[in-house]
Amino acid sequence: MAPRSKPKPGEPSSSDAATPLLPERCIDHKNKNIRKEKWRELRLQKNKEKREARKKRQKVREELGKDAPPVLQPHTIETLRIPDVTTVQPDDLETQQADRLDEFGGYFGREAAPRVLLTAGDFPSPKTRDFMKELALVIPNTEVRLRNFSSVKKTARVAAAKGYTDLIFINEDKSKKVMANGLLHVHLPDGPSALYRLSNVKLSAEMRRIKEFTHHRPEVVLNNFTTMLGHRVGRMLASLFHFDPEFKGRRVMTLHNQRDYIFFRHHRYEFKNEKKCALRELGPRFTLKLRSLQKGTFDSKTGEYEWIRKRHEMEDSRRKFHL
């Protein structure tokens, strides 16, 4: 294992007394067998130190009881996430005002009830058709229509004229024999268009238990949409469902964002007592990943994008997330 930076001819090498060496640096040896042995010893020593430290902490916790320092949390990618500048603060006045003047201001101001039109490509496969039927049951006030060879722009224009508030296109790539892999959500009349990659679709028929759908308007739970982009996407997805849920139906849709993947789940809940709640999963489950958010209705050639996923520029760190 070569050292990371080779000392330049004029400069002193790293083994000078100026900077103390990391323990790993002592292990560098050109002979692989010797190197292996040294690493093994180092690892054993480190694990021993860890065990002793843990024993000490446990002792301290037992002794102090309630006054003990809190338990150390393990590092996960979520805890090590690079903090995002655009994280929405709850008391931020400017964001609140921007939300009021947004494309979804009408929905969140309880003026426009959503009316969704759901369609797919020209000849959707049977699985996609089943998925669309299920989505129509899951999202209230949805109509499923065949595309009839019309273009996305034309469909958006006509649907806006007819009073629909949202348009969803399910895209499938038949050459890959996968059921459906894309979802385009266009908010009408001039709202943003979000393009998602759809994956891991599981229909209710494939789930183990027998399901019963009711037609009560569901509640919507949005988890973990922290950044500005996440905030906008969360509002966009929430605007698909009616703003007045019927709590009697005990139906809940969860859109959970984790590491830029949005998981959609549909449950029926029942509170057994104050602390315990039983969940039964109904309906389809699928995963969405945002590919682009475009300002205005779908116009890929001449339109402006609010956010576009540029893999090599944006995803250079495993700890960096955008939603």
């Binding site: 500048v85 655009t86 931020d92 006045l93 400017e94 964001t95 005002q97 921007a98 009021r100 003047l101 500005m228 982009l229 300002k295 890929s300 050639k301 001449t302 339109g303 402006e304 994008y305 609010e306 956010w307 576009i308 540029k310 520029e313 944006m314 955008h322």
Partner: protein, 419 residues
């Protein structure tokens, strides 16, 4: 922090004007609006400097209002509701103390006080909507307009019936189809006879208005399907900076006919780009709510500022610099030039500045305007004497004459600070 310390001004979609003070180490932002009283109709659609000293900022709103913000006083001094055509104000300029507005429906108006003196031009004889109106740096009466299916036209306010120059579309493509036109931004190059336009169909076109050729001299395709939304000339005459709706910022060399450099850091569509005319700074503002400051020579991203609202317009001061020595030079030069206008009487001078937009309250004495005209750029003269006497605020004269000491100093300093 005194208000005139801001060196970059940004207009947002929610109608908020933001002033940003960018220094080498840090960035400070302030909002100039009451955040509880925002309306969608007050979206800032265009911005420009109100005067040569860059003390006033003119804002054009979606509701066809024009507002004036005074940077020294730190307040909005004037607001005027205009009614000409329909649509937001997409272009602003000033000519002899009066404001020129261009609206989306194609009407470009010079708002002089007397209604008989108002000049109105209908730029949208063909096409769907007007997208941009820019003023020539050489002659403030010459305007360039362009829009969706409306190619570049140059208008002279003295002759409003016919455009001075009307561009012709390129020849049909290899399938013999007419090439679509959607001019999204226009810029005059330094000699003011060459005009560059960028199109939403991913081309940048260069026109030579004095040559008699109506077709573009050069047509550069930037990327594939990149809807170019904004354009700015840079400190180098042969290069322009283009921003696209997909978040690409590219430095396009018009001589070579290709892109030279792509700047990184934009995630959303670029709304406006503003390059400093002499130094290598480029400010860009995008829909992902960030203001980006790049250095075109070193290709680095100097600052990335999050500004919470979707941003529409950006302006940079002439004395903008992250190098403190440049700032000192500018101060010295500013101080040297200031005594001239102050000699007419400081109080009167201020009043004139404030109320110049609509000359309802004071008749602008002809002397004042003449003096102001003097300070504007004269026609091109290639002679050493003119350069020596020229104030630093005039744009660069051709390169032959421009190898002045000032530029050499800057290069050395740039090497030291960035080396």
């Amino acid at each position: 922090m005194p208000r005139h310390c801001h060196n970059v001004y940004v207009g947002a979609e929610t109608g908020v004007l933001k002033g940003i003070n960018v220094t080498e180490g840090e960035v400070q932002t302030s909002n100039f609006h009451n955040l509880t009283a925002l309306e969608r109709e007050n979206e800032i659609c265009s911005m420009c400097w109100g005067d040569d000293e860059q003390r006033q900022v003119l804002l054009g709103l979606r509701s066809q209002q024009v507002k004036v913000y005074d940077t020294v006083q730190g307040t909005f001094t004037m607001s005027r509701q205009l009614s000409s055509g329909s649509g937001p104000v997409i272009g602003l300029a000033k000519h002899q103390g009066a404001v020129i507005t261009a609206v989306e429906s194609g009407i470009v108006t010079l708002w002089r006080y007397a209604e008989s003196e108002r000049v109105s031009v209908n730029a949208l004889t063909t096409g769907e909507k007007l997208c941009r109106m820019r003023q020539s740096p050489a002659d403030s009466a010459v305007l360039a307009t362009g829009g969706q299916e409306n190619d570049l036209q140059l208008w002279d306010l003295a002759r409003p019936e016919q455009p001075v120059f009307r561009a012709k579309n390129v020849r049909p493509d290899m399938l013999d189809l007419r090439v679509p036109v959607w001019v999204s931004d226009i810029t005059f190059l330094e000699d003011a006879r060459r005009v560059a336009t960028c199109h939403r169909h991913s081309v940048v076109r260069l026109y030579d208005t004095a040559s008699g050729q109506r077709r573009p001299v050069m047509s550069v395709t930037v990327g594939e399907d990149e809807p170019l939304t904004c354009l700015s000339r840079t400190h180098r005459d042969h290069q322009v900076l283009v921003g696209s709706g997909r978040g690409r910022l590219e430095l396009c060399d018009i001589r070579m006919g290709r892109t030279v450099l792509a700047l990184k850091g934009v995630a959303g569509g670029v709304r406006e780009v503003y390059c400093h005319p002499e130094r290598s700074y480029a400010a860009s503002v995008s829909l992902d709510r960030f203001l980006l400051l790049h250095d075109l020579d070193t290709k680095k991203l100097l600052h990335k500022v999050y500004l919470k609202s979707r941003l529409n317009c950006v302006l940079m001061r002439r004395n903008f610099s992250l190098n403190p020595e440049d700032a000192e030079e500018d101060e010295v030069e500013d101080a040297a030039v200031q005594p001239a206008p102050a000699s007419t009487g400081p109080e009167l001078e201020d009043e004139e500045d404030d109320l110049q937009i609509v000359e309802e309250f004071l008749d602008v004495p002809p002397e004042e305007t003449k003096k102001k005209k003097k300070r504007k750029l004269p026609k091109l003269k290639i002679s050493g004497e003119d350069v020596a006497d020229a104030s630093p605020k005039k744009p660069k004269l051709p390169k032959l004459v421009d190898m002045s000491k000032k530029k050499k100093k800057k290069k050395v300093k740039a090497g030291e600070s960035k080396g």
